[in-house]
């Protein structure tokens, strides 16, 4: 078709070409069947080094105490909370892709859902580290859960920080279940094609004995739908509750009703950017170009554009409300953000989150891989700084000018941040070599000719 208007009445295929089902098996399980090459080991060495740096910084913090961090009066929520919100945000893309896009019947999600779910799990694990270490004595974290302890005290159900405990642990568990349920049929495929005895035993156990029976498929699909239905409000609730950590406090710049939607949009924004970054590598290295097509990447870019604009709208609206409310301190806070001591962070945030993603209006840029990679990296930088600006600038200058101070992170803070990236990417690398990073079953189900033609229905 030469005209520029595509024919929307026709179902476009999500998988390019018409690969045979067996070739899909072969392609997706290839990384599991072959020995990793040198590049993989180099990548792993880099990420584990980062991880070790973070681990050493963490051990030092446990031994000497959190005084090694930049956190101090009045900025008691320094890097740990910034990093927590950042990583939880990254973790939002996976469930969004696997659950919300599933409910919306977006077939292009099938190629990337497994991978995005994996990223969700690792990102939430990374995020979980931070509140746990922020208490300074992580071995006492058990008190966060209501159990009959020797003080016969219960937790405080009125606190947003406790809601966080429930939201994040529920999110992790449900994402994990979702992921595992998706993996069961794939494990069965791997079980039936592997030649190694050890792998066969492992896959036999993890596949639970899946037989591809349609009497099972029927319930399986229903459960998948039910889980997607649960995960959708869940994913929205998680970042809403994270935003309550701020919004329920009475600090100027935090105490605002726009926070829940603003945070959720930001989370999806950063999550999609991170998925995009990693997918670009994966499809290249493993030759998945026809499964994770350029069309899919373009659709991801559209979501980034949308959520980026939402975030930009929220930034503008915060200023508007500060002016409109007539509250002096609120107005001061926002002027201070843009032109005060944290102006550098603020303008990094605005340019990376609002300006650069607008380039995605241009179709050419949406489909050029190097450009979208750069923009996605910038989005992640910008989103990290968004959390930095919100957390730090409000705390550093609140109602009492006598207690104002400037927050400076320490080397330990930066090492732990580096370590969190190491943690995340180490898990991701191990994941690509141990589990199918693309759902074999879901890809098969959307290959052309894989569904009956319904001639007599």
């Amino acid at each position: 078709m030469s005209s520029s208007v595509p024919d929307y009445s026709k179902n476009v295929s999500v998988i390019e070409g018409k690969p045979s089902l067996r070739s899909i098996d072969d392609l997706i399980s290839k990384p599991l069947d072959t020995k990793p090459d040198k590049k993989y080991y180099i990548a792993l060495a880099v990420t584990t080094t980062m991880l070790m740096i973070g681990a050493i910084a963490l051990l030092a913090s446990f031994y000497y105490g959190t005084g090694l961090w930049g956190n101090n009066n009045p900025v008691g929520w320094g890097f740990p909370i910034v990093n927590f919100v950042f990583w939880v945000g990254i973790g939002h893309a996976g469930t969004l892709i696997s659950a919300i896009l599933f409910l919306l019947r977006q077939k292009w999600r099938n190629g990337i859902a497994r991978f995005a779910e994996g990223m969700t799990i690792f990102a939430v694990m990374t995020a979980g580290i931070f509140p746990a270490i922020h208490v300074g004595r992580p071995w006492l974290d058990g008190y966060l859960f209501p159990y009959p302890n020797q003080h016969s005290l219960w937790v405080n159900f009125n606190s947003p920080l406790l809601w966080d405990v429930f939201a994040v642990s529920t999110y992790f568990t449900v994402s994990f279940i979702f992921w595992y349920v998706g993996l069961i049929p794939d494990f069965a495929i791997l079980r039936d094609r592997t030649k190694s005895k050890i792998k066969k035993t492992i896959y036999s156990i993890t596949s639970l004995g899946w037989r591809g029976s349609n009497r099972h498929w029927q319930h399986y699909e229903m459960v998948y739908l039910v889980l997607a239905g649960f995960a959708t409000p869940l994913v929205l609730s998680v970042h809403t509750i994270v935003s309550f950590d701020f919004a329920v406090a009475i600090l100027p710049g935090w105490h605002s009703t726009i926070f829940p939607p603003y945070f959720v949009a930001g989370a999806v924004f950063s999550g999609f950017a991170m998925v995009q970054n990693v997918l670009i590598f994966i499809r290249k290295i493993f030759n998945y170009e026809h499964i994770i097509t350029i069309d899919t990447l373009e659709k991801m870019n559209k979501v980034i554009l949308l959520t980026g604009s939402l975030v930009g709208y929220a930034y503008a609206m915060e200023f508007f409300i500060a002016w409109y409310s007539g509250v002096q301190i609120e107005q001061f806070t926002f002027v201070n953000r843009a032109f005060g001591p944290y102006a550098w962070a603020y303008w990094i945030m605005v340019s990376c989150n609002v300006l650069f993603p607008q380039l995605f209006w241009i179709k050419k840029i949406r489909r050029t891989i190097p450009l979208m990679f750069i923009i996605a990296v910038l989005v992640n930088v910008g989103m990290w700084f968004e959390r930095y600006v919100i957390t730090v600038s409000s705390l550093a200058r609140d109602y009492l000018p006598s207690s104002w101070a400037y927050f400076t992170p320490t080397l330990t803070d930066l090492s732990i941040l580096l370590g969190s990236f190491g943690f995340f990417f180490t898990f991701l690398l191990l994941f690509t070599k141990t589990l199918p990073v693309v759902s074999i079953v879901e890809v098969k189900a959307v290959v052309e000719g894989s569904q009956p033609s319904h001639k007599d229905h």
Binding site: S20, L21, R22, D25, R137, W139, P146, S152, L153, W154, N156, F157, N158, S159, P160, L162, W163, F166, A167, T170, T173, V174, I177, P185, I189, R191, D192, S204, S207, L208, G209, W210, R211, G212, S213, N214, R215, H216, Q218, H219, Y220, E221, M222, V223, V226, L227, F230, A231, P233, L234, S237, I241, K444, A445, G449, S450, Q451, P452, S453, H454
Partner: protein, 379 residues
């Protein structure tokens, strides 16, 4: 057992259209114990097999609602009955603040409940020794073929008939599947000594680690740094001060906040001369005085100060407060008794604050007046 037991017959198909047609025919033929195996869910197969809709959503609903209910009761009990703590001036039962946790628990339980029910009850998984496993049939249907299996337990099953039926609907590589002898002769090995030993080892390891963590590790560096801080606790010997006391005497003339220095210790007569009751005789003051007198004085002096102790001789009975002597004392003189004590009567300086002491004295005066009323009081 040497003779193999037949599980059923299987046949393979190449395209989704063929398998749908085959499933429709098998259902129409009246087979019940048959199944279709596909590498991915094939649209329209449920209708072709005439399967009833899955009941799992009801399970999800039931589990979710019960979890919501149980969690609500649990939270209500924790925050309003078992250990009520006021937080931020909110009522104990502050439902809006509970919504997030209730929501998360509902979703969590419903998800786990549904998936576990599906796997354990609907699928009867884990089951990795099904006769179909490790057959060419299963290897094909998890990859790129579509298969049908008809079980020997089907009421209409007959080897010859099923084989020809499968051929008639166009199935390829029709094979008979037998139970594995191992699977049939499977014996429960749970009570083997090896396994029991394993269990014991696990139990010892788990309880040992727990014991070590809770009773030893938590008292080691750095885990004990919260408990053992470098500070003096009361009565501890000091190596820093030459007198060896860690508690220091305040600088001379130090006055604690909210405390009025008492200058007449040991000199009741001076107190009697110089101290004046600062309180007015008001109903409020008298009420406070009565309350404190009933609490602190009445056990020995009796409710009316007559010296009728309730201590049944465990403590020397005090004299009556209605004596000539006490009636003629000034308020300041009684105050001195409360501050210093008198002979066996201990000091009440730390139990009553200044205001309360004077209020008690007002009340003692009222008691004295009640037994020795003046002519004028009758009017």
């Amino acid at each position: 057992m040497d003779e193999k037991i037949l599980y059923g017959y299987t046949g393979l198909f190449d395209t989704p259209d063929e398998i749908i047609e085959a499933a429709e025919k098998t259902a129409a033929e009246g087979f019940q114990k048959y199944d279709v195996h596909t590498p991915y869910p094939v649209h329209g197969m449920d209708a072709a097999m005439k399967l009833k809709p899955s009941k799992l959503p009801y399970i999800a609903l039931a589990v979710g609602l019960s979890a919501l209910f149980v969690m609500f009761i649990f939270m209500y009990w924790m925050t309003t009955i078992d250990y009520p703590v006021i937080v931020g001036g909110k009522p104990f039962f502050s439902f809006p603040a509970w919504v997030p946790v209730l929501f998360e628990i509902t979703v969590l339980s419903a998800s786990i409940g549904t998936v576990v029910t599906m796997i354990a009850i609907f699928f009867k998984f884990p089951n990795i020794s099904h006769p179909l496993h490790d057959t060419d049939f299963i290897r094909s249907v998890t990859s790129d073929k579509y298969g049908i299996s008809i079980e020997a337990e089907d009421p209409k099953f007959d080897e010859e008939y099923v084989r020809s039926f499968l051929a008639s609907i166009g199935a390829k590589s029709i094979t008979a599947i037998y139970w594995d002898n191992d699977e049939v002769n499977f014996k429960n090995t749970v009570l083997q000594p090896k396994f029991i030993t394993f269990l014991i080892v696990v139990a010892l390891a788990v309880s040992g680690t727990t014991y070590f963590t809770l009773n030893k590790l938590m008292f080691m560096v750095p885990f004990n740094w919260m408990r053992e801080q470098s500070k003096y606790i009361p009565q501890e010997v000091s190596t820093f001060f030459s007198d060896g006391f860690s508690m220091r005497v305040p600088v001379k003339g130090t006055v604690a906040r909210g405390n009025m220095p008492y200058r007449y210790a040991g000199d009741p007569d001076a107190a009697g001369k110089e101290l004046i009751n600062p309180l007015a005789i008001t109903e409020k003051n008298l009420e406070l005085g009565k309350k404190k007198f009933d609490i602190y004085c009445s056990p020995c002096h009796g409710y009316f100060g007559k010296g009728d102790s309730r201590l049944r001789g465990q403590f020397p009975n005090p004299p009556s407060l209605h004596s000539e002597k006490v009636r003629n004392w000034s308020d300041g003189r009684i105050y001195a008794v409360l501050m210093d004590g008198q002979n066996v009567m201990p000091s009440y300086a730390s139990q009553l604050n200044r205001n309360e002491r004077w209020a008690v004295i007002l009340y003692v005066r009222a008691l004295q007046r009640s037994l020795n009323a003046k002519e004028s009081d009758l009017k």
